[in-house]
């Protein structure tokens, strides 16, 4: 019994070659294929896709140049400040020495005055007192 069913099934499910026009019929049955869209590459995309040397290095180069300029400007300002400070310091020290010289000159006057003998009192005045 089961043998019969088995045979029946084998017969029913035996591989059958596709008819010759099968592919053509399937292709015909398919909906019409839409035309492929034309891809237009925008300039931006194209430039991104193939970056030039300048576009690749311009930003880092600009940054590096800015950094260099900033460092040089800072150094220049620092040097100028130092130079100004030095000039001011030298001028101030010159003034200080000048002030001390004037002070000592005036103290010399005091010294001279102190070294001078006191004025002699006339004898007539002494007799009066």
């Amino acid at each position: 019994m089961s043998q019969d069913i088995e045979n029946e099934l084998r017969r029913a499910l035996r591989p059958v070659d596709a008819p010759a026009d099968f592919t053509a019929r399937v292709m015909r049955a398919l909906p019409p294929r839409p035309a492929s869209a034309e891809v237009v590459m925008l300039d931006v995309v194209r430039s991104r896709a193939q970056p030039s040397w300048w576009s690749r290095f311009s930003t880092p180069a600009a940054l590096a140049a800015s950094l260099l300029v900033a460092i040089m400007a800072g150094r220049h300002v620092a040097l100028e400040h130092e130079e100004r400070q030095q000039l001011a310091g030298l001028e101030a020290s010159r003034k200080l020495m000048q002030a001390l010289r004037v002070t000592s000159q005036k103290l010399d006057l005091v010294y001279e005055a102190m070294q001078r003998p006191p004025p002699v009192t006339p004898p007539a005045e002494e007799n009066r007192s």
């Binding site: 101030a92 000159q105 005036k106 010294y111």
Partner: protein
């Protein structure tokens, strides 16, 4: 709103910072500008060394130079040096009133006249004042006037008389025979006018 701005401006302008001169340090004299004298004088020395400038000056003194080394030692304890010195080609070409105004400041409490030197022959008047505070000299003032010359010196700071004593012989500072610790107000008139 405008009223508020006007009020604010009035308030700012009336604040001491705008209308008054900067406050003076203790012992600092208010010296006249003597701007008009600079043109009249044959020689003039105007030195204004506030604490900041004095500090800068000290840093730039050459330690290898004995004079400057001594000055450096001295100026570390000072906070200001102010000098006005003028020489003229004619007698008494300077305003005595301005000098008297400075002299009046020295009659304030704390100031003592250390030396008063009058030379009738040379018509030289030199007064040395010190400001004593807490038993220490905090300021020194010298007013020297001659017919053709006058000078006002104001040295502010902790004036160590020992140090001043040690400076004798340098810069031509004479032997003042200052007794350190001695009460100031020693008035000496070796050559009084009358």
């Amino acid at each position: 709103m405008i009223k508020r701005i006007v009020c604010m401006a009035a308030l700012l302008l009336s604040s001491p910072g705008w209308t008054q001169a900067p406050p003076l340090a203790k012992g600092q004299l208010r010296l006249p500008e003597f701007a008009a004298l600079t043109d009249k004088a044959s020689e003039s020395v105007t030195v204004t060394l506030d604490p900041q400038l004095l500090g800068l000056a000290c840093r730039f003194l050459n330690s290898e130079d004995p004079e400057q080394a001594a000055a450096r030692q001295l100026c570390t304890s000072l906070t200001g040096i102010y000098v006005r010195s003028y020489s003229f080609d004619s007698d008494y070409a300077y305003p005595k009133a301005d000098i008297d105004a400075v002299r009046r400041q020295l009659s304030a409490p704390g100031w003592s006249r250390l030396v008063e030197a009058r030379s009738r022959k040379e018509q030289t008047d030199v007064d040395v004042y010190v400001l004593i505070d807490g038993g220490k000299a905090r300021s020194l003032a010298i007013i020297a006037s001659e017919p053709r010359e006058f000078a006002i010196v104001n040295v502010v700071g902790n004036i160590d008389l020992e140090q001043l004593h040690a400076l004798e012989g340098k810069f031509g500072v004479p032997q003042l025979e200052i007794e350190t610790g001695k009460k100031s107000g020693v008035e000496k008139s070796p050559a009084p006018k009358k």
